[in-house]
């Protein structure tokens, strides 16, 4: 019998079988594996050798503050720390109140705070205390949030007030003695990048919703105006829109209004991003069942009320993943303001490269800039995925 002569099966478990299954399942795969290992080896060894011997990483340490806040007055940097503490507190509160939904972001913040504190300790920078304080604030507010009655309203109110508060803190005001105004031209680095991202995203959302509603409107004039706007903006590069905002905005406004460059860039981002947000929201609007409209009409709601109370809440909830995605892509796109001369992370990198003692450190500086964006995006993606899972919007 043939069956009796069969040899025992080769192992299906254990490291050898794993190697076989994943790397050497047939001769073609084996060849690919060897080729890939060779390519990786020949790419990685020079890179590692370069980073250990030739690279002058001192350029990063010497300019870290510049990377983070640009030319922001050094004696006022505590205001930026205050915005971080506020964020930590709000994240802690949200985590305590909403548990699952905010947990991803809270974990990320905790981990980042602890990581930054450790790195600072390692390099003997004195900012490690600030990061420990931020983590402590987060944990304290978590405890408060999980015990607070009606915590959800506090947290929501907190988030609503947070962005104006940040703006007030960073920009300062002539009326408050301890917050002297800081020129917008001094804003820079990661601070400016994040501010532009947040303003661009949240500022464009209302306009985007209006455009999306307009595009689905039955009134031809409004509909075609919205279609025209959306398609025009989506057909041209962001950098031309920014350029337009930078150059044409002062021309279009009355003679005595001269908005700062940062404001002009923000307007450009809002105008640009609104077209994309409109398409996101439109996707959500299209996903709403007709029955919802009919039910609302049957209850006696008119068109406006139906839209505000029935359709929009569901549509916006359905597009949360898309909104997170545009947050990330706008975060990357803010690097274009360097082209119109704002001091974001990218432009700061270029000014560092012009310092006489750090000439020729392009790779180090750009790799660090990469790392900032990459790390932030990774963290944000993780947090947003937890939110989507908790809300159950990612799969349906």
């Amino acid at each position: 019998m043939a069956a009796l002569e069969m040899k025992p099966p080769i192992t299906t478990v254990g490291p050898l079988a794993w190697l076989r299954k994943n790397l050497f399942s047939n001769w073609c795969n084996a060849l690919l594996t060897i080729l890939a290992i060779w390519i990786l080896y020949s790419l990685i060894t020079p890179a590692v050798a370069w980073s250990r011997t030739e690279a002058r990483w001192g350029v990063i340490e010497a300019n870290l503050t510049l990377f983070m806040v640009g030319q922001y007055p050094r004696d006022q940097v505590w205001r930026v720390w205050l915005t971080i503490y506020l964020l930590a507190g709000l994240l802690g509160l949200s985590w305590g109140v909403w548990k699952n939904a905010a947990r991803g972001f809270a974990f990320i913040a905790l981990g980042a705070g602890a990581g930054f504190a450790l790195v600072s300790l390692f390099f003997k920078w004195d900012v490690w205390t600030q990061w420990v304080i931020a983590d402590a604030i987060l944990l304290i507010f978590y405890l408060i949030g999980s015990r607070l009655p009606r915590g959800a309203s506090f947290a929501a109110l907190g988030w609503l007030l947070y962005f104006p508060a940040v703006f007030l803190l960073v920009a300062g005001s002539g009326r408050i003695a301890s917050l002297p105004p800081v020129e917008m031209s001094a804003w820079g680095g990661l601070l400016l990048t994040l501010l532009l991202t947040i303003v661009g995203n949240f500022g464009s959302l209302p306009l985007g919703v209006l455009l999306a509603l307009g595009r689905r409107s039955k009134l031809p004039l409004i509909k075609y105006f919205c279609i025209g706007y959306i398609e025009l903006i989506r057909g041209v590069p962001l950098v031309t829109v920014l350029y337009m905002a930078d150059i044409l905005l002062p021309l279009f406004l009355s003679v005595d209004v001269r908005p700062d460059r940062v404001i002009r860039a923000m307007v450009g981002f809002i105008l640009f991003e609104a077209a994309y947000q409109a398409e996101n929201v439109r996707g959500g609007l299209q996903s709403i069942n007709r029955g919802q409209y009919e039910a609302a009409h049957a209850l006696g709601l008119n068109g406006t009320l139906t839209t505000i109370f029935i359709i929009l809440p569901q549509a916006l909830r359905a597009v949360i993943p898309a909104l997170f995605n545009s947050f990330i892509s706008l975060f990357k796109d803010t690097s274009l303001v360097a082209i119109i001369g704002l001091f974001d992370v990218l432009r700061v990198s270029r000014t560092i490269l012009a310092q006489s003692e750090w000439l020729g450190t392009h790779r180090e500086v750009f790799l660090f800039a990469f790392f900032i964006y990459w790390g932030f995006n990774l963290a944000f993606t993780y947090g947003s995925r937890r939110v989507e899972e908790a809300l159950g919007v990612s799969k349906r």
């Binding site: 994943n22 790397l23 399942s25 795969n29 690919l32 594996t33 890939a36 290992i37 990786l40 039955k218 009134l219 031809p220 004039l221 409004i222 105006f225 025009l232 057909g235 041209v236 590069p237 962001l238 950098v239 031309t240 350029y243 337009m244 150059i247 044409l248 002062p250 021309l251 279009f252 406004l253 009355s254 003679v255 990330i328 990357k332 796109d333 803010t334 690097s335 274009l336 360097a338 082209i339 990218l346 990198s349 270029r350 490269l353 392009h362 790779r363 750009f366 790799l367 800039a369 990469f370 964006y373 990459w374 995006n377 990774l378 993606t381």
Partner: protein, 388 residues
């Protein structure tokens, strides 16, 4: 007529809403227009395209159409537009290849290949394109060895600080005659297709597949005839060679062009890879199983069953990635490649004609986008499932 019904009438309200909307629009536009005229008057500027005929008097480092500094602004902008189109077209072709390769690699059964593709996609998609471009330009292209110590790749291709030298072809005097033969050969394919289709319609029986061999033999015959008449080859290969301080022959990709192309292709390729992966995964598993049970090999299954179906899902998102590539080519300004945006910026700095330049720029990009999406829509309609 009841007055109450008048303002409760939905038709009336709709018209009223539109009138209010248009009124608001006109008022805003009027306000902006008044501001513009006042601002321009203060700066002593006038709006008009008269300046386009003036000599540009700046040099452009690379151009595919003849250009000199004494040419007009209009010509300079055309040079920029052509440069943008060149990098876009070459970029779209290359990024499709990279994207498909990386997308298939992400689904490979080989762990290293899969992880490598995943790392590529993850890193590239999460960092800004401008920084990538600057890294490739300042960190890599300009740090290549000097001409004397050029890195030689098979081809021969030489990587140097002054650019990348690749072998190129040069037309000989028989080129025009050969061009005619090749055009004739291509025409013959269409004629065969037309004739065979006619024959298929006429006969009730299916045509023998052997007839398809005509597609091969007739064009080959035409080319062979051509070769018999004009034996000299239409193109000469020219190979870059080190001559003194520089390379002679071959085609030189400037560092700016090479870095821009490389950056755009890698960036867009990562996005296309995700689309390809999602498209392949979206093909129902039963299709693969059915193909396997019919006895098709793995590569046949992929080529004949999975890919055509995945293509239908992939085309619309890939189109928008192509458009992104075209639009992102405007970031060339960061590394000094003279594309449309960068030249338009120079023209603006010289003339101060902000409104005119922005209109020209936006219209150019818009028509480029519309043209690309038109082509892709035609293709999309061709491959869509024809439902009965």
């Amino acid at each position: 007529m009841n007055i109450k019904a008048f303002w409760r009438d939905i038709r009336f309200l709709q018209i009223l809403a539109q009138i209010v909307f248009i009124l608001a629009l006109v008022l805003t536009a009027g306000y902006l227009y008044a501001n513009v005229t006042e601002n321009l008057a203060r700066q002593g500027l006038t709006v008009g395209y008269g300046f386009m005929k003036n000599p540009a008097s700046f040099d452009i480092s690379e151009s595919y159409i003849p250009y000199e500094a004494s040419d007009s602004y209009r010509r300079a902008l055309e040079v920029g537009l052509v440069n943008t189109i060149v990098v876009t077209v070459v970029g779209i072709l290359l990024t499709t290849v990279i994207g498909i390769l990386a997308g298939v690699a992400r689904l490979s059964s080989n762990l290293i290949i899969r992880q490598f593709a995943a790392a590529y996609v993850g890193v590239i998609r999460n960092t800004p394109l401008v920084i990538q471009l600057m890294f490739w330009y300042f960190g890599v292209a300009l740090q290549l060895p000097a001409v004397r110590e050029a890195i030689e790749l098979p081809g021969p291709t030489y990587l140097t600080q002054r650019g990348i030298y690749i072998p190129w072809a040069e037309a000989t005097e028989t080129f025009p005659a050969w061009r005619t033969y090749i055009i004739l050969a291509i025409l013959s394919i269409f004629i065969i297709a037309f004739v065979l289709q006619l024959a298929r319609k006429r006969s009730s029986l299916p045509l023998s597949p052997w007839w398809n061999l005509l597609y091969f033999f007739i064009p080959v015959f035409i080319i062979w005839l051509g070769a018999a008449i004009q034996p000299a080859p239409p193109l000469n290969q020219i190979i870059p060679e080190l001559a003194g301080l520089n390379f002679k022959g071959g085609f030189r990709l400037t560092p700016e062009f090479a870095a821009l192309l490389f950056g755009l292709v890698l960036y867009t390729g990562a996005f296309i890879a995700e689309i390809v992966r999602a498209g392949i995964q979206a093909v129902a598993k039963g299709q693969v199983e059915a193909a396997r049970s019919l006895g098709l090999s793995t590569s046949q299954t992929l080529r004949l069953i999975v890919f055509p179906q995945a293509l239908r899902i992939m085309i619309p998102p890939v189109t928008s990635q192509y458009l992104n590539l075209a639009k992102n080519s405007s970031l060339a300004i960061a590394i000094g490649y003279p594309d449309l945006f960068s030249i338009a910026g120079t023209v603006f700095n010289q003339t101060g004609a902000a409104i005119e330049i922005i209109v020209v720029m936006m219209l150019s990009y818009l028509s480029l986008s519309l043209f690309t999406s038109l082509l892709m829509n035609i293709y999309n309609n061709r491959i869509q499932l024809v439902e009965r």
